[in-house]
């Protein structure tokens, strides 16, 4: 079976009768065991790309807490993507309140006029917000002493089979041949928002000033200069690997294809996402008498399977085995890859240029 057919088998369908694939595919791997929920990635992206009018509520990169409803609220239940037989799954456009939008505060009244004593947020309708871009942060699930949560960075998946691209009636969305980055051509976009409907990950925003849809651009102007995306370069936890999926010496290939410990989110959505996650290990549950029960992880495996599919159990087992090896002082290529001894060479080997030198 050639590559195209393998890919067709993997995503379960062909595109317009044939598999259209870029020459190479850039991808990211997030090691969730290292994410500390600091939001530096989100701020790096915001600072670099979404500071203009109309972009106030945009978080092309967002770090949610799981279990949780996320950004936009309850996005996992909205539909979009493809059925196993290849048909597009109908969906809807998330509203601004569901995304969280950008709140306005009554600074004038509190700080200058003295007519109010407390700062109060207002949403775009001038009402008290009912949701925010990270409303359920640190909430998680479970009961003490077995409560749990983990941080979860999300951005456009730059899918192999982008539902947004296929939904646009204007051909305004394209996938770059040299690296598979999915982009919206704002000259062609007329703001019809079918892409926002079709994307099952709900990572596309609408700009109410420019009247176009906008999303993560994988920092393509930085990529073109050999610089890593802002979210990855700024990450203090150094958990965001970036590279080409076919680079057998690079960390992406090692984690996704060789060790098979990095998994796509909701593969069943059928779009072939190119953002992969190393699932979170967790401490054992605690019994009613306060003793650890090593047979049960704190984060229920069923929950992780609902995100990453059936392969997650095996991925966790490999991680545990290799971690134990490393703890015994034995060699582990997997642990060495995840540890990232040399930054930036070990984490985004093709994109090591310091942007300050450009």
């Amino acid at each position: 079976m050639d590559d195209a057919k393998q890919e067709a088998a993997r995503i379960g369908r062909e595109i317009d009768g044939q598999i259209v694939r870029p020459k190479r595919q850039l991808a990211m791997v997030f090691d969730l065991n290292k994410c500390l929920g600091c939001h530096t990635c989100s701020i790096a992206c915001k600072t670099q790309w979404t500071r203009e009018e109309g972009m106030e509520g945009m978080w092309w990169n967002v770090v949610n807490t799981l279990p949780g409803e996320g950004t936009p609220k309850s996005w996992e239940t909205m539909g979009g993507g493809f059925e196993p037989d290849g048909r597009q799954r109908p969906s809807r456009i998330p509203g601004r309140e569901e995304f969280g939008d950008a709140w306005q505060f009554n600074q004038q009244e509190v700080l200058f006029e003295g007519s109010a004593s407390h700062l109060e947020p207002k949403n775009f309708k001038g009402e008290k917000p009912s949701w925010g871009p990270n409303w359920d942060e640190d909430q998680g699930a479970g009961e003490y002493p077995n409560s749990y949560f983990f941080y979860f960075p999300r951005l456009c998946n730059h899918c192999t089979h982008p539902a947004c691209l296929e939904a646009c009636p204007r051909g305004a969305i394209y996938k770059r041949e040299q690296d598979g980055i999915v982009l919206i051509d704002e000259q062609k976009c007329k703001g019809f928002r079918f892409c926002m409907e079709a994307c099952p990950y709900k990572r596309i925003y609408y700009n109410h000033v420019k009247l176009v849809s906008q999303k993560c651009i994988f920092c393509f102007p930085r990529i073109d200069e050999g610089v890593a995306p802002a979210c990855a370069r700024q990450c203090p936890g150094r958990l965001r690997f970036v590279g080409y999926l076919d680079d057998e010496n690079g960390p992406i290939h090692k984690l996704v294809h060789q060790w098979k410990v990095a998994l796509p989110l909701h593969e069943e959505f059928g779009t072939g996402p190119n953002i992969f996650y190393v699932p979170p290990l967790s401490p054992p549950r605690v019994t009613a008498t306060g003793k650890p029960d090593p047979s049960k992880p704190r984060i229920p495996i069923e929950y992780l399977q609902s995100l990453f599919g059936p392969r997650v159990e095996e991925a966790l087992r490999i991680l545990e085995t290799e971690r134990a090896k490393k703890a015994r002082g034995e060699a582990s290529e997997l642990m060495d890859t995840l540890i990232v001894y040399r930054w930036p060479d070990n984490i985004f080997p093709d994109l090591t240029k310091d942007p300050a030198t450009l």
């Binding site: 048909r87 597009q88 109908p90 809807r92 456009i93 998330p94 509203g95 601004r96 309140e97 995304f99 775009f124 309708k125 539902a163 296929e166 939904a167 646009c168 009636p169 204007r170 051909g171 062609k188 007329k190 019809f192 928002r193 079918f194 926002m196 409907e197 079709a198 609408y206 109410h208």
Partner: protein
């Protein structure tokens, strides 16, 4: 239909409620939903395959000119007008006039080498229509922004809308319909119902050309 020649200095046609429009009968132009099969997006084909869009069944069309400027008035039923877009899932009402730029230009969005000129009004930008050129489905692009002035009103469940443009709005080129008194042209219409999330190819349109003669 005939666009009568009148003196715009005496009777201004700019307001859709102006008295001038009471003097000339409206031509009822039948509309039909765009065929589902022509939607060039698999997502749209799937979600709207039942064809629940483009229910506006007719537009009343009137036209006058004064030798320098053309004014066209449209009137159609719209029970739930949407004139502003505040949230992501809102879409404004719209209407458009489509003129062929060549003898062979197809009514449905033109074709390569046979483009069409589209005057596109939307209720959330009420005073100016966008001048578009298209040479196929999904290809429309805005070429000039301030050539076509519009004024609209919604009352008693109906939109009324006037487009105004100079007969010759610029140097002759492939992007602008041009008009001359004493000659006959063709026009097609489309209406989008924002409350039904209609945008792009989800619309009601006139499946046949309407002949428009400018009185000499």
């Amino acid at each position: 239909m005939l666009a009568k020649r009148v003196d715009f200095q005496v009777e201004s046609p700019g307001d859709p409620g102006a008295r001038i429009w009471e003097r000339f009968p409206a031509r009822k132009v039948a509309l039909t939903p765009t065929p589902v099969g022509l939607q060039n997006s698999k997502y749209i084909l799937g979600k709207w395959r039942d064809g629940d869009f483009g229910r506006t069944s007719a537009v009343g069309l009137q036209a006058v000119h004064d030798g320098a400027e053309l004014a066209l008035r449209l009137e159609w039923e719209c029970e739930q007008p949407v004139a502003s877009v505040d949230d992501n899932d809102q879409f404004a009402d719209g209407a458009a006039l489509l003129f062929p730029l060549s003898e062979a230009s197809p009514l449905i969005m033109g074709a390569q080498g046979a483009p069409v000129n589209i005057w596109h009004w939307r209720a959330d930008r009420p005073t100016v229509a966008h001048n578009n050129v298209a040479d196929g489905i999904g290809t429309s692009r805005i070429t000039r922004s301030t050539l076509i002035t519009t004024r609209a009103a919604h009352a008693s469940g109906r939109w009324t809308l006037v487009f105004r443009r100079e007969l010759v709005a610029g140097p002759p080129d492939a992007e602008l319909a041009a008009f001359e008194p004493g000659r006959t042209y063709r026009v097609a219409l489309a209406v989008w119902c924002g409350a039904n999330a209609e945008r792009a190819g989800l619309k009601a349109f006139s499946p046949e050309w309407v002949e428009l003669s400018l009185e000499a």
